[in-house]
Amino acid sequence: MLTGHLVEALQLLQQVQALAAIPNPARLETSQALLEEALRHMQLLHLEASKSEFHPTPAFTAAVRTLRRQLQHTQRLLEQASLFFEGWARLKASLTCGYDAHGNPAPAEEIRRGLAEA
């Protein structure tokens, strides 16, 4: 049962990674649902593992470490995409609206408009 939850979480995470490779809002929404499912499996796994009769095998320990590595990889992948959009927004803002009193790029009018529309 424990291994089943772990395998499920790993598979879901692999799907999230594939989605993060082409990051756009629609794909991120899909990945959010997958992450919720992975979270559910991990919660159950955590619950099972908390029981006193739990004795992890080396294979199980290795699989949890793999899960951790995959999580870190996915996190970094999404951060890269986020940094890209953040940088682009800042660059556009600095080109169109100059700087605010603190020297940061002032919010662009189109971003404000987009915010209102979204």
């Binding site: 993060a20 991120l28 959010q32 992450l35 992975a38 991990m42 999404l78 959009f85 682009w88 408009r113």
Partner: protein, 479 residues
């Protein structure tokens, strides 16, 4: 009649403009699979219309607009710079790692262990000729083991030197191409989509070799700066770089007998090595000037391998020469077991050898003391396997543990480089997708896309963070 003629002229002009716009669209369709191609669009302007003054209106062709997003292009180049760096580093480290066995079953750790066992056997029977011969044989094997690793490092350095020359040649070659494209751009190729594609493809290829900054000039040419400072191409001028392996006068070399580090030199003779931090060239420099230098030494580093070889040889020689072969009278002192080139600490491993004067008869087993111990030296030598005294260690580590740390650091650097290479391969693919997403999107669409993305990202990031916490909690239970 004149009105009909005017209408016909206006229609004919419009057809001509639409035909040109259609050619631009056809070119986009034809290049849909061309790597690095960015779609173009012709801007149409309404012509002035005033029949009373003879202005017949209609449509006029404007400038050709590209869908290329330079920010997204730069992002792709940044990822490729990093990918090039880690790919090269991982490849070079993998070639070196085989010399640093962590299992202890072969190479230097096995030879060290065998020698210490031979010392131990000798200490039990200090007068035994076979035990003494075994010591001589094992000492020769240890010297051979150091040679093999030192030769492996020398081969890796020679490979790195050859690749450095090739990479620098390739960088200059792409620089030459960019120079030619700049000339073509200045000679009226501003709207040439094919030329634009070739320029960006060349810049992308260059970024995998070296970290560059690209400035787009109003005349359509590109300025390429290595490390953001040293020019490679400015307009119609090419500034070739070169790689040199000679010893600079400043700073003066510490170990003159050891190889000089590699230096990248700009066309005017300035050393720009420190500017090269990414791309294959950055990876090769890191391997050649940092990793290999720290292991096998160069003009400025003794190298850990040499440090180990020297420490082992000096300590064993010190113990043997401080002992007696026989008590005499007069007492006969022992001879050193090892020799090495004393020209510099950075060449010890490659010159370490069994002392030709050492043989089974003149190994000193007696410690004159006080107290006098018949097998005292042999015992002290056997204790080097698990030392308790600082003089038998390097920085608090036994010789075997010191080598283990060295091998471990090579292994962990390789694992780190492999992980980063895999990650950068993914981020490079991702950057290309992001470039595609932003290509040709209107500013309003872009603004909405950014907002929607950031919201979805935050939700995903929160989920990933929770998953991370749960994973750590499970790992905490396992430990």
């Amino acid at each position: 009649m004149s009105n009909l003629l005017t209408s016909l002229i206006s229609t004919a002009q419009a057809l001509g403009v639409f035909e040109r716009a259609l050619v631009v669209s056809q070119n986009n369709v034809a290049n849909v699979s061309t790597p690095g191609y960015a779609a173009q669009r012709m801007i149409l302007h309404a012509a002035e219309f005033d029949p009373s003054t003879g202005l017949i209106g209609g449509v006029q062709a404007g400038e050709i607009e590209t869908a290329r997003n330079l920010y997204a292009e730069q992002n792709v180049r940044r990822q490729r710079e990093s990918l090039g760096y880690y790919t090269e580093l991982a490849h070079s480290l993998a070639a070196v790692e085989s010399y640093f066995d962590v299992t202890g079953r072969q190479g230097i750790p096995a030879a060290l262990s065998n020698l210490f066992q031979a010392f131990s056997a000798w200490s039990l029977e200090p007068g035994s000729l076979p035990a003494r011969e075994q010591v001589i044989q094992r000492a020769g094997e240890l010297a051979d083991a150091f040679h093999q690793v030192a030769e492996g490092m020398a081969r890796a350095a020679a490979d790195a030197d050859r690749q450095l020359r090739q990479t620098v040649g390739k960088i200059n070659e792409i620089g030459q191409q960019l120079y030619e494209y700049n000339v073509a751009r200045r000679s009226g190729g501003m709207d040439d989509a094919g030329l634009d594609t070739r320029i960006h493809a060349a810049l992308e290829e260059l970024s995998e070799l070296v970290n560059i900054s690209v400035l787009h000039q109003p005349d359509g040419s590109v300025t390429v700066l290595i490390g953001g400072q040293s020019p490679l191409v400015i307009g119609a001028s090419l500034y070739r770089i070169s790689v040199q392996f000679d010893l600079p006068a400043d700073p003066p070399p510490v170990y003159a007998a050891a190889p000089a580090p590699a230096r990248i030199v700009a066309s005017e003779g300035r050393d720009i090595t420190s500017l090269v931090t990414q791309g294959s060239l950055g990876g090769l420099l890191e391997m050649r000037n940092q990793v290999l230098a720290s292991l096998a030494g160069d003009a400025y580093h003794a190298g850990d391998l040499n440090l180990l070889a020297k420490a082992v040889a000096d300590r064993i020689n010190e113990l043997l020469t401080g002992g007696w072969v026989s008590e005499g009278p007069p007492p006969v002192s022992g001879v050193p077991l090892f020799t090495y080139n004393s020209a510099g600490d950075a060449v010890v491993a490659q010159t370490l050898a069994l002392n030709p004067a050492a043989n089974a008869q003149n190994l000193a087993a007696i410690s004159p003391g006080p107290p006098y111990v018949g097998n005292g030296v042999a015992l002290q030598l056997a204790e080097l396997a698990e030392p308790r005294r600082q003089q038998d260690m390097i920085g608090g580590y036994s010789y075997a543990a010191f080598f283990g740390r060295l091998a471990g650091s090579v292994g962990s650097r390789l694992a780190e480089a492999e992980a980063n290479r895999a990650f950068r391969a993914d981020t490079t693919a991702q950057a290309r997708e992001l470039r595609q997403q932003l290509s040709g999107v209107s500013l309003d669409q872009e603004a909405i896309l950014i907002l929607q993305f950031q919201r979805a990202y935050q939700a995903n990031a929160k989920m990933l963070s929770l998953l991370g916490e749960l994973t750590e909690a499970v790992l905490g239970m396992i430990r």
